[in-house]
Symmetry: C2
Subunit: 625 residues, 2 copies
């Protein structure tokens, strides 16, 4: 056996994409796929001959790798089988026109299917013989809900028994992993008998496997299944064929095909690297959020500056060449960018006052950039003045910029190189005691969550946490945090929030904001009570918490009256987990765009999800008066 | 035991409605509920005292019937139980302020709960004793996912064992029916020990019961559970307390609370009648669709008339007093209404050319109207000229009118009374052979399907069929048909279509149309091939079907070449079921508003769902060129 040549060809089944067949092919080609699987219905609904489809794919540089599927073929009674063979011959005609060399046969789901592997093998052998006469090949796949054949080992036994060179195995990660089927022995299947490999991930859901498969599959890295382990076993077997996405997903059916296709290719590149195929540069080691940059104009900038000052921030400097100001407190850097003709100005025009960029501390910006580029990310370069530092930046899927701050070779910080710092800014300004950015929450359109999970996971090596559901008064909000790995002091934490309802704060933000963005910025204090006493809570527009909340917390968590009274006087919310306590307070929203949170966490790992509904109700009450 | 007095009081849990607590109370009162259950989080998030909630409810004429829930209370270790009792006392304080006389205790879900009914009984007895000291009562309910107590019989045994006058049983239809638990013996529980009854329906879904309960419950009559059987057993037991809705539903959380509340009350009124409580007038016996009325202006009216004429319809008359024309073919009456200052004109202004009214043949219009009124429907009365018939009409939830045509006492048809019929219209015009309206499909916003299912089911006695999922190229479409009962020749069939995607034909229709409406009208022919040959298919804008479709139908259903060729030449689609064949052809859409279908059904019961995706793809291709 010769070693497989990496990278492996990348492919996508047309059923994974939205639109008509020409739109699907165009999107797959634009993303950079090498080939496609043609899903039967896409061909049936296309008003042109299979030969036209073949020409269209060729013009786009796409191979048609598989025609799928032929269903309920094997192990039927004699007369049905004769009809099935005639049906297969008609499909072979189509494949010949299409230029597809392989057909997928799924294990039979009919009640009438006979439980006899020998018969299945004989039937498939006969079909393979018919296919071989036309130079075609047949791939047999175990459906997770097949009548008798559900596991890949069963399909493999049948393929071995049939023993025909034109018959091989098709593996599908979803069918195997959804059953928690064993991967043992997979790496020992002869590579030339694995004809094709289909890949899909999925969130863990407790429902019947058929509904799960038809509606909730997603791309590798977007779900909870061990797709990397599956792919590793396949690569260890020496498989050298295409890695192909086959994803049935209601959101993908409705989303713009180009966006979906790009996510798909990103997921396969990431997966192959994780599984031991073509490697990617290692993900960056994240050292925290270095700065948050707001796009403002003059008026919004003044107002935001006042709000920040009321929270204990101080003006620390002015950019050397641009209309950009720096505000600081503890280790927090906030940048207000009002420069014309900049990325920030463009952001402001689209989204109003908003977070337009985030600075992430990384161990090696060059390696991080190379990884991002390999994962299809767009880079961004801002014009720089003399003596200013060139900071590499990536565009996130919603257009926000991530600057990668790598201070290894720098003799001074980016603030020293790019800003004229105020005299007072030489020493750390402790202000009200806020010391770091604890987390940043992003609001996304409901169908974009998977896309962002994949972006943060693949490009930055962050891990998705469990999904929380929070009841806004006007609909449910789902929240899933992306967190940098390990137990750093300086975790980067980005909860991603979505809502199907356009009436929740999250849903309103997304529509008002013409897309997605950071709508919630949490600053950490190690002494939150002192911090709250140090600021003018009315000027800072701290959010009022209803008394009923405190009655309940007291009953629920048995807090002593002293603590309870202090919390209540400061409108502080309280939560705890096995590791520690979490105290937090919110501000009212700034122009319904974003709000701030002040938190104190001692060991605690979450985000106060138990209290988020209280905050949402209080913010809703503000809106509705 | 004295007989219960009907109608029973109607109540709703605040968790069933969207918004802040004041908005929820206002919506419940506006719909006409007698009382509410206060869901704990709604109180916790409210920035006002429980006493203020009490005043607000009183001002709105609402009783606070239940405070809910107290969780994980009984059968815990001694020290936990002591804390739980202290917690209960704090909640009793809240209830006293709130004026709520009963608290709901759900069966314990904690791992640590002890499997000992005697201990549970003793704990609940102690709690009941504490409640009784303050004049309060405790209702105990078996949660379907309780740790040890899951079935109503178990809860009932514990209540009996505790034997305290302030402790009784709370029954919840979802918890009982989701487990397929037996109703046997329910009608023998002493009525005075059933303290409260909560009602919810749900679609049949194969998922874990907790997720099912938290996201997919809906109102009685909207789902698939035998809620009527449950309610009948409760009423047979002599229960005379409130019927209360407790529904956790993601869509309800996001929908306008007043709409949801009205649906809720409608569902309870219907349910009580079905279960043997306060009766409603019987639903009408439907005798088919008598006419379909289009709102048009002069220009759209002319264009539509041409389209109808190309399908074999002929002008049959002009309304005596209005700018309204009648077109006829076989037994089909189509009305084009261009009258100013009418309901149709209002409809046209909102929705453009569209179906604004449907005439349904009923056995007794007076009884049907009385039933609709009792079910909270709005009536509509159009101004009538001298000698014109007064036709009672109802507004459907999207504003479309249903006219109820009752010809029992009439010496002539409404067409004869209201129209100046053309001389030629004395005889039936057979045109191209279309003879009846086969079905009308309505496109609805995705979250309104349940509401319309309830409307058609309760008001007209129609039955919902199974949900079909159809893949439009730009997203999934769900279709659920409402069908009049029995095996009439003149079934009324109304498939309801929804799509989460705004890019499907259904989704685009709903947004373009500013709401919902009929977007698909199917006419029946008994000789469809002749019909298609009789019309000018190009002028009628018949939809072209791709050749690939016929290749597949031939392979799949083994059609003979003669039939296949005829189908293909006429762009006819083919389906069959156990009962017969279905042949159908579509037109291109009229201004992207609605399209026509020509069908021939011989015994066949469906709507060609297998072919709907072909039609959607072809229509999409027209839009995208």
């Amino acid at each position: 056996m010769t070693a497989a040549r990496y990278p492996l060809p990348k492919s996508i089944a047309t059923v994974s994409l939205s639109g008509t067949l020409p739109e699907k092919l165009e999107a797959a080609a634009a993303a950079g796929f090498d080939g496609v699987e043609i899903f039967e219905n896409d061909l049936l609904h296309f008003d042109g001959s299979p030969a036209e489809v073949r020409r269209m794919a060729a013009d786009l540089g796409l191979q048609i790798l598989l025609y799928q599927p032929l269903r309920d073929f094997e192990a039927m009674s004699g007369d049905v089988f004769a009809r099935n063979l005639a049906r297969a011959e008609r499909k072979f005609d189509v494949m010949a026109q299409l230029g597809a060399e392989m057909v997928l046969v799924c294990s039979n789901v009919q009640e009438a299917a006979i439980d006899d592997p020998a018969r299945a093998a004989a039937d498939l052998r006969q079909m393979a013989e018919a296919a071989a006469r036309r130079g075609l090949r047949v791939g047999y796949e175990a459906l997770a809900w097949g009548r008798h054949v559900r596991r890949w080992q069963q399909a493999w036994e049948i393929v071995q028994r049939a023993d025909h060179p034109a018959l091989g195995l098709v593996l599908d990660s979803f069918h195997t992993l959804s059953l928690d089927d064993s991967l043992q022995g997979l790496d020992a299947v002869p590579a030339d008998k694995i004809f094709f490999v289909q890949l899909a991930d999925a969130p863990r859901l407790s429902m019947d496997v058929l509904s799960w498969s038809r509606h909730y599959r997603n791309f590798p890295g977007q779900g909870d299944l061990p797709v990397v382990d599956f792919a590793r076993a396949v690569l260890q077997a020496g498989y050298a064929g295409p890695l192909s996405l086959e994803v049935f997903n209601d959101d993908f059916r409705a989303a713009p095909a180009r966006l979906t296709a790009q996510d798909g290719l990103r997921s396969l590149i990431w997966l192959e690297s994780e599984a031991g195929g073509a490697p990617l540069p290692a993900p960056p080691v994240l050292g925290g959020v270095d700065f948050v940059e707001f796009a403002v104009d003059y008026v919004a900038g003044r107002e935001l500056a006042q709000r920040l000052e009321s929270l204990g921030f101080a003006h620390a400097g002015r950019h050397r060449s641009k209309a950009v100001d720096l505000y600081r407190q503890g280790g927090i850097n906030l940048i207000l960018n009002a420069e014309q003709d900049s990325a920030a100005a463009e952001h402001f025009q689209l989204h109003g006052p908003s977070v337009c960029a985030i600075g992430l501390k990384v161990d090696d910006a060059r390696r991080a950039t190379a990884r991002a580029r390999a994962l299809l990310c767009k880079e961004w370069r801002e014009p720089v003045g003399p003596d200013e530092r060139v900071i590499p930046a990536l565009r996130s899927p919603d257009g926000m910029l991530f600057h990668l701050i790598d201070d290894r070779d720098a003799d001074r910080s980016i603030y020293e190189s790019d800003f004229m710092l105020d005299a007072s800014a030489q020493a750390v300004h402790h202000g009200a005691g806020l010391c770091a950015i604890d987390h940043l929450a992003q609001a996304l359109p409901a169908n974009r969550l998977d896309s962002f999970v994949l972006f943060y996971r693949s490009v930055f090596g962050m891990q998705p946490e469990a999904v929380h559901e929070i009841a806004d008064p006007y609909g449910l909000v789902k929240s899933r945090a992306m967190v940098s790995p390990g137990q750093h002091v300086q975790h980067v934490r980005i909860p991603l929030n979505v809502s199907e309802s356009g009436r929740t704060a999250t849903g309103r933000f997304v529509s008002a904001y013409a897309g997605s963005g950071v709508h919630h910025i949490a600053f950490r204090s190690d002494r939150i009570e002192q911090t709250l006493k140090a600021i003018d809570r009315s000027r800072a527009a701290m959010l009022h918490v209803p008394d009923n909340y405190y009655d309940d917390v007291a009953a629920r968590l048995a807090l002593d009256d002293g603590l309870l009274g202090r919390l209540q006087r400061l409108d502080l919310l309280y939560d705890r987990d096995a590791l520690g306590e979490f105290l937090h307070a919110y501000t009212e929203p700034f122009h319904e765009r974003f709000f701030f949170e002040l938190v104190q966490r001692a060991g605690y790992l979450g985000y106060g999800a138990a209290n988020a509904a209280v905050r949402m109700a209080a913010q809703a009450q503000l809106r509705h008066g």
